[in-house]
Symmetry: C2
Subunit: 338 residues, 2 copies
C-alpha cells in the first residue's frame, strides 16, 4: 500500500541516493530535507517500502538503497525533468556546427557530444536498412588496371571497393563505362542488379555489376554503432573495483549492445524509453539503465540513440538531453541546418 507520504519518502531516498551514491539513512533524510517527522517514523515507512520491494539495505546496519522497482516508480511519477537550458543548447549545437564532412562522422560526433553532456556512455546505432537500393555507381581510376568502385546508396551513404579490371582504361573511359552501367543498374536492389549482371556482354561490366550487388548486400547487413564516453561511465563509484570495471569494458566493447537496445521501430521519433536494471534482457545489464530515443534520416529510416549508465543515474537530467540530441541529429540529417 503506497500512501502519499510513503511515496514522497521513496522519492527522497532515490533522489539522495542518486546524488550521494551512499545508502540513505533515516537520519540523513530528516536533516537533509528538514522533515518534521522523526527518524523512527521514517524507519517505519522505510520498512514498509522495503517490504514492498522498492528499496533494500545492503546489510543490517546500513541505510536504504533503491531497487529497480523504486527507480521505476521514481521515473514514472516522482522525477522532475531538468530541461536543457538555452546556454547548454548553444554549447551542444556549437559542437555540431564544426561538424565534419563525412556523413558517418556526424553520428560519431553526436555520440561524443551526448556522452559529454550526461557523463555516461552514449551509443548510437544506425541499423541495417531493410531494402537498400543502389542509387549510382562511379568508377575512379587508381593505377593501371586498378579502379575504385564507388556505390552511392539510397540513404546517402557510400560503399567502395577496389577492383582489378581486365585491362587498363583512362578516367574518361571509366566515366563512360560507369554511365553505361548506371543506365542498367541504377535505382535497383541487389537481386535486380544481379539479374542485370547476368545479361551484360562485357566481362568487366559483369564483374562490376556483381560487385555492386555485393556492396548493396553488405550495406544492407552492416549497421553502424558508435560508442563514446566509456571513460566518464567508469569514473562513477559503481565501478570502483577492478572486476566491475573489467566487466563493464568487456561488455561494452563487445557489440552485443545492438540486441539490448530497443529496435527503433517501436519507438517513434521524439519519444524516449527508459529500461532500468533487470528490465534489460541481458544478465550483465542488470545494474545498468538505458535511456533510448530514436532519430530519423532523410530516407525515413530510423536509428537508435541511447545513454547507458548505472541504475543510479540522473534520469531527470539524462532523458531531456537524449531527446534533445536525437532531435538535433534528425534535423541535421534532414539538412535543414545547413
Amino acid at each position: 500500500m503506497l500512501t502519499r507520504r510513503r511515496t514522497e519518502i521513496l522519492g527522497l531516498v532515490v533522489h539522495q541516493y542518486i546524488d550521494t551514491a551512499a545508502p540513505v539513512s533515516s537520519r540523513a533524510l530528516v536533516t537533509r530535507h528538514g522533515l518534521s517527522i522523526s527518524t523512527a517514523t521514517i524507519r517505519n515507512e522505510l520498512a514498509k517500502l522495503e517490504e514492498d520491494g522498492y528499496i533494500a539495505q545492503p546489510h543490517t546496519s546500513a541505510g536504504r538503497v533503491p531497487l529497480d522497482r523504486g527507480y521505476r516508480l521514481f521515473v514514472e511519477e516522482l522525477m522532475a525533468e531538468e530541461p536543457v537550458g538555452v546556454d547548454e543548447q548553444r554549447t551542444i549545437e556549437h559542437q555540431f556546427h564544426q561538424a565534419p564532412a563525412r556523413l558517418e562522422d556526424w553520428l560519431s560526433l553526436a555520440a561524443h557530444v551526448l556522452s559529454a553532456a550526461v557523463s555516461n556512455v552514449a551509443v548510437i546505432t544506425r541499423p541495417s536498412s531493410r531494402a537498400a537500393q543502389l542509387r549510382h555507381v562511379q568508377l575512379v581510376h587508381l593505377h593501371d588496371e586498378t579502379v575504385l568502385l564507388v556505390a552511392v546508396m539510397d540513404d546517402g551513404r557510400v560503399q567502395q571497393r577496389i577492383v582489378q579490371l581486365s585491362r587498363s582504361e583512362d578516367q574518361d573511359g571509366l566515366t563512360a563505362r560507369a554511365s553505361r552501367l548506371n543506365a542498367r543498374i541504377a535505382d535497383a536492389e541487389a537481386a535486380a542488379v544481379r539479374a542485370v549482371a547476368d545479361e551484360l556482354a562485357d566481362e568487366d561490366d559483369q564483374r562490376l555489376a556483381r560487385m555492386a550487388a555485393d556492396l548493396i548486400d553488405e550495406h544492407r547487413i552492416a549497421g553502424e554503432t558508435y560508442l563514446e564516453g566509456l571513460r566518464s561511465a567508469l569514473e562513477q563509484p559503481e565501478f570502483a573495483s577492478v572486476e566491475r570495471m573489467l566487466d563493464a569494458v568487456r561488455h561494452l566493447q563487445a557489440y552485443e549492445l545492438l540486441r539490448a537496445l530497443p529496435a527503433p521501430d517501436d519507438l517513434r521519433p521524439g519519444a524516449t524509453r527508459v529500461m532500468i536494471g533487470s528490465e534489460n534482457n541481458d544478465d550483465w545489464m542488470h545494474e545498468w539503465s538505458v535511456v533510448t530515443s530514436s532519430f530519423g534520416d532523410y530516407n525515413g529510416s530510423l536509428g537508435t540513440i541511447a545513454v547507458l549508465g548505472p541504475t543510479r543515474m540522473r534520469y531527470g537530467y539524462t532523458i531531456p538531453r537524449v531527446r534533445y540530441v536525437a532531435s538535433l541529429v534528425t534535423a541535421l540529417l534532414h539538412g535543414v541546418n545547413r
Copy 2:
C-alpha cells in the same frame, strides 16, 4: 661491465618476468632453467646488474624486475623473434577475406585483428594527406532541393555533404551538372577549385564547387585513428588496480596517441620500431611500450600501425605480428589480393 654470463642472466630475468609478471628470484632462476651455478652466485650477478641500472627490486625482500634499460638490451640483443606460423597466417588472412566493403573499415578491421593476435591495444592511424586532390564529384538526388555532394579524393577515400540547391532538379539534371562541374574542377587541389568556383556563372555550381573545395581541405586535415583491444590490455596484471585501469582508459581514449606515435616518414614500410617505457615522450606512457610499423597505400602515402602494451610485453611475439599485419594491409590497399 657486462660479461657474457651476466647478459645471459639478464635475458633469463626479462624472459621470466614477461612470462610470470612476478619479480624474479635467484632461486626461481636456477630451478626453472636448470642452471649449474648456485643462487648465491646469481645473487652476486643480479646485484651488479642492478648497479648498472638494468634491473631493480620493488622492495628489499623481493626478486628482480627489469627496468627500461634491461628491456632495451633484451629487445636489441637477446630476444628471439617468434615468427608468424603458417596456421596463424591463415587465420589472420581469413579474417581479412571477409573484409567489409568500406575502405575505411579495413583499417578498423586490421586494428581488431592485430589486437586479437597480440592481446594488447592496437592503434592504426592514417595521417592527413599532405596535398589532397579532388578526383571527381558526383551529385545524388535526395529529396526536393536537397542533394548529396560526393567527392572522391585521389587516395580513394570519399567525402560527402548534404547541400540545398536553389531549386529542385531530377537525377539526370544533376548528373549533367556534375559532369559539367567535373570538366572544370576534377583532379585539382582545394585552392585551384576555389579559383575556378569564382569564375562560375551559375549560383548553384559556384556553391557546389566551393563546398567541394571545403571537402578537400577537411579531407586533408582529417586523419583517422582506429584503436582496438582496450579490453585485452586491461586484463593484464599491470592494470589490476582501479587507478591504473582508469588512467589507461583515460589516456587511451583521448586521441593524443597520434603525437606519441612516430611519424611514418622516418619509418620505412617493413621496418618496426620499439619504444620502451620512458623512451616515450609522454609521461603517462612511461609504463607502456609501443611497437610501431608503417604501411603504404596505392597513393604512396603512409600510415602507422602500432601495438601498445605494458613494458612487460612479449616483444619477440609482438614485433613479427605487427610487421605481418602491416604488410598485409599494404597489400590489401594495393588491391593485389582481390
